[in-house]
Every structure is written in C-alpha cells, then in structure tokens.
C-alpha cells in the first residue's frame, strides 16, 4: 500500500515537474470513438503514444474521446485551443468545418485535420492512401471468393469510403469479372451490434467474404462465427477472428505525428497537405494469413505492395468508366489526386447508387 502511495506521489511529482517545464509543447487530440475500439481511434491513439515516446519531455499530450461530429466538436476543439495547446489533431472527416471555425479564433494554434481537404495558414490536412490497401484486399477477395459475392459494410457516403469501394471493386473484378459486391450503409462509424447484423445479413445473402469500412471488429467476428472469410479494418484484427482473418489494412500514424510535433517544437511547422500510402509507411498490410491464403496469392499481394510503392501499379489505372458508362480515366492514365479526393461516384460494374 505504502509503495502504491509512493508511486502515486512520485507520479504527481513527475507531472508537476513536467508541467513547469517552460518550453514544453502541449499537443491535443480529438477522437471520434474510444481508443479501445481496436480500429480507427485505436490507431490514432497508438500514433499519439508513438509520438510521446519519440519526443519525450519536449511535449505533453491530451485527448478527448467520443466527440460527436456536430457542434459539440467545436466546443471540444475550442477547449483544447483555449487551454494552451500548441498543436491539435482532429481525427475525423466531419470535424472539418468545426476545425476551421476554431482555427480562425486561435491563429497561433496549429491544427491538423485528418482526411479533410480545407486548409488555412494554421490548418494542415493529412490522410493515408487507404485505397492502396483496398486494392490488395480486392485482389485477394476476387481470387478467394467461391460464391462470387462479397459483402461490404460501410459507414457514411464520403469520398474516402467510396474511393475504397471503387479501388476494391476494380482490383477484384480485374481478376474475377463475375464478382459482385453487396453494400450495406450503416450510417454510423461505430455500433458493434449493427455491424454484426449487417455482416450476418450479407452472409445470409450469399457473401463468402466480409469487408468493412466501420470501426469495430464485430463484422470480422460475425464472419468467424459463420465460417466465412473477412478482412480487418484499421488495425490488425487477427486475434478476434483467427480462422477467417486474411489480412487487415493498418493505419500507421505515429511517424507523421512525431514529425509534425517535432516541427512545432522546432518552430518550423507550416500548413500543408499530406497524403501518404504504402511508400511512406502510413498504410501497411497486416501479416497475411498463411493458413487461409495460398502461398502464390500471398506472393502476388506482396508484389503488388511493392509495385504500388514503386509507382508501377496504381489503384485507379485507366480505362475507368462510371456507372453511366462515361470514361472518367483514359487508358494509360491514372486518376489524379483531385479526382480521388472528391470521388462520389461508383465505377462501372457496382450495383446500386451512391446514397446522397
């Protein structure tokens, strides 16, 4: 007991010492979910921890979790800005206008908004090219499906999600022209029960592979229970569905966070747009499941990763048509970042319409 009290006291002492550290920079995070979601927010939190370890005493970090994407976000961001934070990461797409609103009030505070596209002198945007990972899993799914039906659970109709669906479908249909994807929009990032329902519904309709773009590992778990295959999302989800998990697309934020925090410490921070993928290590594939995937397919996937890194392979290579049959990317060209950033249409071959 005494030892516990002493530990606690020394802990307090550390806090008070670090609090008076004059040039220590305060860095804040706004999370959409809980760090324990083992998905999107979990990976941002891992990035925060990486940054803390990398920069040590020169920074201190704070986070606010479960911040809704509405006017509440303004209050949460303002709370961090007003309490002396030097750099604030807002880690969800729909914090965009809220981030800008607070950034106008606090011109000396630096902001980093994830997955958005609106910038100011003190607001940077950053995102990962998750769609590169979707190309890999699309390729695997196209080869692994036996029913030619793939179930795809998604959150909200925003460019990042639609880009993922398109990249996945383009790769899957390239190796398997008969492949069909069934899409369910959940209109929430995080509701384990509903995600499980959606997965079960898709499996019931004949899907033998479950892909998700939501934040909990319930879909992967439902796939495991039903004995079908699945891909994880955001972090390595193998532990939750060892017999159905083929691989996951992992978001690696740590090095970027550490670099931006270092820039604030050094006073070299400037507003910019960052969009990195396999090449810079912001997106990684979890270890491929050797029990489920044939060796040559794993090799193919690894070669594709390398090709994407080298730039010899692109997720959106022409010719690409939209659902109306119009050519949107010409043969021999690749989709530019502007088109990718605002992608709100399905490519030809996907059934259904993009919800408005």
């Amino acid at each position: 007991m005494l030892r516990k009290i002493l530990t606690f006291l020394s802990f307090l002492a550390v806090i008070s010492v670090s609090a008076v550290h004059a040039d220590q920079k305060k860095i804040g995070f706004i999370y959409i979910g809980p760090p324990g979601d083992h998905g999107w927010t979990y990976m941002h939190d891992q990035g925060r921890i990486y940054m803390e370890n990398a920069l040590g005493d020169s920074i201190s970090t704070t986070y606010i979790e479960n911040v809704p994407e509405n006017a509440d976000a303004v209050r949460a961001i303002r709370k961090l800005a007003a309490s002396g934070h030097d750099l604030i990461f807002t880690t969800s797409f729909n914090y965009m206008d809220q981030t800008l609103e607070v950034a106008k009030e606090f011109p000396d505070v630096k902001f980093e908004h994830a997955t958005g596209f609106k910038r100011m002198d003190n607001v940077s945007t950053y995102s990962a090219r998750f769609y590169e990972g979707r190309t890999i899993i699309g390729h695997i799914a196209g080869k692994m499906t036996k029913t030619n039906t793939i179930g795809y659970i998604v959150s909200f109709p925003i460019p990042e999600v639609i880009r993922g669906i398109n990249a996945f479908y383009l790769a899957a249909s390239k190796v398997n022209p008969d492949v069909k994807i069934k899409i369910i929009w959940n209109y929430s990032w995080y509701d384990p029960g509903k995600e499980a329902d959606a997965a079960n519904t898709l499996i019931n309709q004949g899907a033998d592979i479950i892909v998700q773009h939501t934040d909990s590992y319930a879909p992967c778990q439902a796939a495991e229970k039903a004995g079908v295959l699945a891909f994880g999302q955001a972090s390595n989800q193998e532990a939750f569905c060892p017999n159905s998990h083929m691989t996951s697309i992992e978001d690696i934020w740590g090095p970027y966070y550490a670099a931006k925090a270092q820039a604030v410490v050094d006073g070299t921070w400037s507003s910019e747009d960052t969009w990195q993928g396999f090449k810079d290590g912001m997106v990684e594939m979890s270890p491929y499941n050797t029990k489920l995937l044939p060796l040559d397919l794993i090799l193919e996937a690894k070669n594709m990763e390398t090709a994407i890194e080298n730039g010899t392979l692109h997720s959106f290579e022409g010719p690409i048509y939209n659902q109306a049959g119009e050519l949107v990317v010409k043969e021999g060209e690749v989709a530019d970042d502007g088109m990718l950033a605002s992608m709100m249409f399905y490519v030809q071959g996907i059934d259904g319409e993009v919800p408005q």
Partner: protein, 289 residues
C-alpha cells in the same frame, strides 16, 4: 426469396431485437409503478462490462451473469434510493445514471477492450425474453401484486391510503427494471457481439425507452413494437444488400419518429392517454401528504 434466406433473416431479427425486449419490458414494469427511469443506457453498459470482465477473469458464464445482475441491482438500487427516499427529480437522476454508467463502464472496461471471448448461444436469451413478456403480461393483469403495482402507478396517494407500501413496491419495480437492463447489456456483450467496447450499446437504451411509450405501456404491444423496430432495421439492410436504394438515415430515426406519432395519437384523446399512461408517472410520492 428462398426459405433459407427468410429463415436467415428471421434469425438475425431475433438476435438483434432481444436486447430491446429485455430493457423495454423492465422499464415497462418500472413505469407502471409510476417511476420513469431514463438510466437504461447506463445500466445496460455497466451490465455489459461487468458480465464481460467477470467472464474474462473467471471463464464462468454463471458467475458473469450473476455479477451482471448484481450490478443492475446496485445501480438501480441507488437510483431508487435517490428518487424514492430523497425525492430527487426522476428525469435528472435518470440522465445522471446514464452518464454515470457510460463513464463507469468505460473506466472498468479499459483494460479489457479487445480481449477475445467465446460468445454464448443467444437462443437461451431469446426464449427467456418471450417467456418474460408472457410473465409480465400475466403478472400485471392477473395477479394481486401486479394490480398493486398498477394501483401505485395510477394514484400513489390512494394506494397508500388503502394500506399498500408505495415505496417498497417502487423499489422492487425499479430493481426489476435495472436487472432487465443489465441482462440486455449482458446479452449484447456476451451473445450479440461478444466483445467489450466502450459505448457498445449504441443508444439501444433510448430506443427501449421509446418502445415503452410506443407500446402504450402494454407488454404484448411492447414485444410487437420491438420486433417492428428490429424487423424494419434488418429488412432495410437486406433491401440495401439486394441493391434497392433506401434512405438509411431515415431508418435510423424510425423508432423515435414512430414513438412521436404514437404519442400524438394517444394525446389527441384525453381518455386514451388516461387509459394507457400511468397517472402518477414521474410524480414524487410523499408519505405525509
């Protein structure tokens, strides 16, 4: 549509609706005795996390179920003490219970998020949920104790004058409601989506509250209402997967919209409102009145 597909859909509807039945039927009994408990969401989360942690530590389903129930007894007991003995405002206390439950469950479960467990077969709970509705319907309409509960909810002063123990009755109905909510939570974290993640009940407590009004405080209607809410949610997923374009946001608000429509409908007729809503709902009881 093939038979397998329809059976599959029914299966998913049964699995996803059961937590609403548990939490709804508990709240129905609580409200029948004249107490409004808005703390369902908090009770469910604490029930879910207690069951999950106990299962991870002991590996025993019975212990985990037991402790989950105990958590419901304790939390709803505190709520009962506050609103019955200290006569705090029921709405404010219920909201506080929800907020407290969200925080407490997150704190307790911090170390346990992402621990894989073996889920329990949901069919035990599905069968129990139907039996429970039958039991509550019988209890409230055919037994003397059930009639006392309703008398207390309709007019606590008259019930007190007749010699019934209003406080004790309400303690019991509040604790029954609390236990049902924690069972709903236990079902979610152990059967429905076997995991613990913060806030994983995702608003089902509020839907259960809406359901009680939607059912105009009648057990069988509550069961039907729950399956309408659950069935519509699963049907829209099926239609989406087939490729029918649907406004998904609309379906998310459907339970609340339906409840408002029912409220408008029953409030348009004073007599109908009187027949269904317990008259002493949300009114504090003072012994010396």
């Amino acid at each position: 549509m093939s038979i397998e597909l329809i059976i599959g859909i029914l299966n998913i509807v049964l699995i996803s609706t059961t937590p609403l039945v548990f939490a709804g039927i508990g709240e129905l009994v609580t409200e029948k005795s004249g107490v409004l408990n808005l703390g369902l969401e908090g009770l469910m989360l604490v029930g879910a996390v207690t069951g999950f942690i106990t299962l991870v530590i002991t590996g025993n389903y019975f212990y985990s179920l037991f402790l989950s129930i105990i958590s419901g007894v304790i939390l709803s007991g505190i709520f009962a003490f506050l609103v019955l003995n200290l006569m705090t405002n029921q709405i404010a206390t219920g909201l506080a219970l929800t907020i407290f439950g969200i925080g407490l469950s997150a704190m307790l479960g911090k170390k346990f998020g992402g621990t894989p467990i073996d889920g329990l077969n949901p069919y035990y709970f599905i069968v129990i949920s139907f039996l429970l509705v039958f039991f509550v319907a019988y209890f409230l309409s055919k037994t003397k104790t059930g009639l006392i509960v309703r008398a207390v909810g309709e007019n606590h002063n008259s019930a007190y004058a007749l010699g019934y123990n209003v406080i004790k009755t309400r303690y019991l109905t509040i604790i029954f409601g609390g236990v049902m909510s924690s069972l709903a939570g236990y079902y979610i974290s152990i059967c429905y989506a076997p995991m613990w993640q913060e806030g994983m009940t995702a608003g089902r407590g509020w839907i259960a509250l809406a359901l009680v009004v939607f059912a105009t405080w009648k057990p069988w209607r509550l069961l039907v209402g729950a399956y309408i809410f659950g069935g519509v949610a699963i049907m829209q997923m099926n239609l989406q997967a087939i490729g029918v374009k649907l406004p998904g946001q609309f379906f998310n608000m459907m339970p609340y919209l339906a409840t408002i429509i029912v409220l408008v409908f029953i409030s348009s007729n004073k007599l109908r409102l009187k027949l269904s809503a317990p008259s002493s709902l949300n009114i504090p009881f003072e012994k010396n009145q």
